[in-house]
């Protein structure tokens, strides 16, 4: 067990956990933020994507101790009211089906647009290929990223 401080969405949480526990389970089951999802546990699906110091990472594959005191943003932290341009674009293009992958998709898309406000198709492929969508909403994800990019022009 180790004392760890998790800075999630601007709020500090002191926890005492197995330092090897993946950040994902700490976020979901210890902190109770369920928007971040488990899909594969090995960095292959992107459902667990969160931002660590602004970078998208797969929280299933990071020991919670490695996130000690670093800034973590989850899907719950990107806006108070679904008002982030990426979320608005996701509504505009009616992207989700089951929705299970979409927290991760949105976190990857937000990170992409922060770095690269006007991505090409190839940029989108490169940034989003780590995020599986079993329902197959890729065409809409691509369109929504472009919609969000255009909105910020």
């Amino acid at each position: 067990m180790a004392a760890i401080t998790l800075q999630i969405n601007g709020k500090a949480h002191q926890v005492d956990l197995d330092p090897q526990m993946p950040l994902l389970w700490a976020i979901r089951d210890v902190i109770g933020l369920k928007g971040t999802k488990y899909g594969c546990g090995i960095g292959q699906c992107g459902a667990c994507t969160v931002h660590l110091n602004g970078q998208p990472i797969r929280s299933c594959s990071l020991p919670v101790s490695a996130a000690n005191n670093l800034a973590i943003t989850t899907i719950e932290g990107i806006s108070a009211d679904a008002g982030h341009p990426v979320q608005k674009a996701w509504i505009e293009e009616q992207v989700p089906q089951c929705g299970y992958c979409q927290s991760g998709q949105i976190m990857s898309a937000v990170a992409l647009l922060q770095k690269n406000p006007h991505p090409t198709d190839a940029d989108i492929d490169a940034a989003m290929r780590g995020n599986l969508c079993r329902c197959g909403t890729y065409q809409r994800i691509r369109k929504a990223i472009k919609t969000a990019a255009a909105a910020s022009k």
Binding site: K37, Q102, R134, T137, Q139
Partner: protein, 720 residues
């Protein structure tokens, strides 16, 4: 619009007590309490109108991504004359008033509810109008409904539904209310934004795996990696030393005719359960199944192809002696086993206390969880159906996998051995390796074309294990398993001599329906072979098919539309290929055309575009139909081009998305969807978008490369 939680629901009805139920009789549990408060009888259970004007629509069709969260309440809201953002949608959880409709599968939800739920909305509208006209003392025909109000046309005075609800609930519902005309629709047929989407882009949507019950423990289950093996013994001493581990118990899971016993590690966190599971030492009796391999089994299926099948359909004389050998063609097609891979892994929270069972999960079959039938959950776990309470959540992908109760049965059997509720989570590896899987089908095809280039005969023999047998249905092994020959005798082609048949193969691996069921493999063989015959006849594959559709039919309309939207008659430039296929089956009908570019140097193919024409009869939300079809194409593409599930040493070789990959965004082609609504018959949406994709793609590859692919999966980066 908000999702109604159980607590806020009780608060809005039971506690305040004045909520007026339109029709509560037969609804059980908390709803019945509310009924006695409202003293409402014999009116629809689907609509709750509170005096303050709050309107709740009850939705019996679970949401798994197919859009029922919106499409089903829309049927009621349209006729009730309320907009969707005026209502709260509440998913039902097995209340008796909705029995029979609380399940999703077979692309059936909208088809199965279209008339019935419109009538529900219309009859409620009519009693609200009558309640208003009674109070005003005016003729009902001078009143109309709009946006949750009844308005008196001559004076413009109005009542809200909330003001009328109590009176309306006393009136008898008309059995044959007048339905709106399509031209007056405000919701149906329109691309209305789906109310579940805001929940799904903010992390607020609660899926089964997100269920949280006070005091809950977690479990992870070790199952015999050799399918068919049984538990001999286990040593949990190291597991019990793992921090957080509470208990280790046997876990019985039943799926169809199969019963498996695994070992469940119960712990205070999922992570601790996983750690404890790693420390388990289990001995299995693999019963000879360790010798099983897919490679050898595939040879068995190939050998079985020589057997005469049991006849499914015959027409004319397939063995017409006048057909010359050079008119004949034969081919053998093969398809793989695949896993469902719902992105939300299987999960269930179960609590067993004093013979009462409470479940939090995501399931496609609410009715089977609380039902009284012999195959329902109560019979499998020995708990009275009236003692079972379900909290069904958003489903993170169903695809047929969540039609099965096995993961609930296993969770209940674990929870029976725990004082506290237990959340069982299947890892991705578990979800990949233990089935039930979509079975492979192998197809022996033969056909002949006449000198005039018309199809004379067509024969399709399916060789496969039986899904009905695996599922435990009363299946007579000497008869055709209708599921395994799905669609092959039902295409609209006018073929003078036709024969379809089935050879059953023994199998010990649990198999199951997978989105578009057996059409997902049979259409590949069937429609590729039609293509082969078209080429033998030296005809354009689309025109060859149209020539076999002389009479008006839905298929004919669909193919003509496909011809139009693809500019079919205009040849493609060199290096490109275009193929098509169609499929009609229990779920509906669609046709696909795929355009590809061949890179000869790399021997690879890129998909440029996919066109789909889907025939529906009626459409509730065209944008959602497009989304479903776009997604269906991607799922079918995964199954066509990515490695399937194979067994070696009796174990599933693949484990996760690294070695059982699925189509990703950089591989996803553009899909253009056209919806036809001229057909009278209502058809489904969720599945018809899949079956024609693989044959249309293989047919396109043939056009571009001259290489005929007869085995799925096939690679796009190394053709042949």
């Amino acid at each position: 619009m908000k999702q109604v939680t159980r607590r806020s629901f009780i608060k809005s009805t039971g506690v305040t007590g004045i909520g007026l139920w339109l029709g509560i009789s037969g609804v059980h549990g908390e709803v019945r309490k509310a009924a006695s408060l409202a003293e409402a009888k014999n009116i629809t259970p689907y609509i709750l109108i509170e005096p303050n004007g709050g309107i709740t629509i009850f939705n019996p069709r679970p949401e798994m991504g197919q859009g029922t969260f919106q499409s089903i309440p829309s049927l009621i809201a349209e006729e009730l004359e309320v907009s969707l953002n005026q209502v709260t949608i509440r998913m039902t959880n097995g209340e008796k008033a909705f029995a029979g409709s609380q399940w999703v599968g077979g692309s059936y939800s909208v088809r199965g509810s279209y008339q019935q739920l419109r009538k529900v909305g219309a009859s409620a509208r009519e009693v609200l109008i009558r309640a208003a006209s009674n109070q005003w003392g005016v003729g009902a025909d001078t009143c109309y409904a709009e946006e949750g109000k009844i308005i008196h046309r001559p004076t413009g005075k109005s009542f809200t539904y909330g003001e009328l609800a109590e009176e309306a609930a006393k009136l008898e519902l008309p059995k044959e209310p007048k339905l709106k005309e399509a031209k007056d629709f405000k919701i149906l047929g329109k691309a209305v934004k789906r109310p579940d989407i805001p929940l799904k882009i903010t992390g607020q949507a609660v899926f089964g795996i997100d269920s949280e019950v006070p005091g809950m423990l977690y479990a992870s289950v070790q199952r015999c990696p050799v399918l068919g093996g049984t538990l001999k013994s286990f040593d949990s001493s190291d597991t019990l030393k793992t921090p957080g581990v509470v208990k280790v118990v046997e876990a019985v899971r039943k799926v169809g005719i199969y019963t498996y016993t695994g070992v469940a590690v119960i712990a205070d966190s999922y992570w601790a359960a996983v750690q404890g599971r790693r420390a388990l030492k289990v001995e299995w009796d693999t019963k000879g199944y360790e010798k099983f391999s897919s490679a050898a089994y595939d040879n068995t299926l190939r050998a079985l192809a020589k057997k005469d099948g049991v006849i499914d359909k015959t027409k004319g004389n397939i063995a017409d002696g006048s057909i010359k050998p050079n008119q004949k063609l034969q081919a053998f097609y093969e398809t793989p086993v695949v896993a469902h891979h719902t992105l939300e892994p299987l999960n269930c929270v179960a609590q067993v206390k004093d013979d009462k069972l409470e479940l939090w999960t995501s399931t496609q079959v609410v009715d089977s969880v609380v039902g009284t039938g012999p195959g329902d959950l109560h019979a499998q776990v020995g708990i009275k159906p009236e003692n079972i309470t379900l909290h069904n959540q958003f489903i993170g992908g169903g695809f047929g996998r969540r039609l099965y109760l096995d993961y609930l049965i296993e969770a209940v059997n674990i929870a029976k051995q725990s004082d506290k509720p237990v959340k069982v989570i299947w890892s991705r590896e578990d979800s990949t390796q233990f089935g039930p899987f979509r079975p492979m089908t192998f197809s022996q095809l033969s056909g002949s074309v006449g000198a005039d280039g018309t199809l004379i005969s067509f024969e399709h023999k399916v060789i496969s294990p039986s899904m009905s047998e695996s599922g435990g249905d009363e299946y007579d092994k000497n008869k055709v398993d209708g599921t395994m020959v799905e669609g092959i005798g039902e295409q609209d082609y006018e073929i003078p001599n036709l024969k379809t048949s089935y050879v059953r193969a023994d199998y010990h691996v649990p198999i199951a329906a997978w989105r578009s069921v057996t059409s997902s493999t049979l259409a590949f063989a069937h429609e590729c072979f039609i293509d082969e015959l078209a080429h033998k006849a030296k005809k354009d594959p689309l025109l060859f098919r149209l020539e076999m559709l002389s009479k008006p039919s839905d298929t004919k309309r669909v193919l003509e539309k496909l011809r139009e939207v693809t500019n079919w008659d205009k040849p493609l430039p060199a290096g490109k290929g275009r193929g098509m296929a169609q499929w009609k089956f229990f779920a509906g009908l669609s046709a696909h055309a795929v355009e590809v570019t061949y890179n000869k140097a790399k021997n690879s193919v890129k998909i440029d575009k996919v066109y789909v024409v889907i025939d529906l009869g009626e459409v509730v939300n065209p944008d959602n139909v497009r989304n479903q079809v776009e997604g269906g194409v991607i799922m079918a593409l995964s199954a066509a081009t990515k490695p399937g599930i194979t067994l070696e040493g009796g174990k599933v070789k693949q484990s996760n998305f690294n070695d059982n990959p699925q189509t990703r965004i950089h591989e996803a082609p553009t899909v253009e969807v056209h919806i036809l609504t001229e057909g009278g018959e209502l058809k489904g949406v969720g599945e018809p978008g899949l079956p024609p994709l693989a044959p249309a793609l293989a047919n396109a590859i043939f056009m571009a490369t001259g290489i005929r692919l007869r085995k799925m999966p096939f690679s796009l980066s190394n053709i042949g």
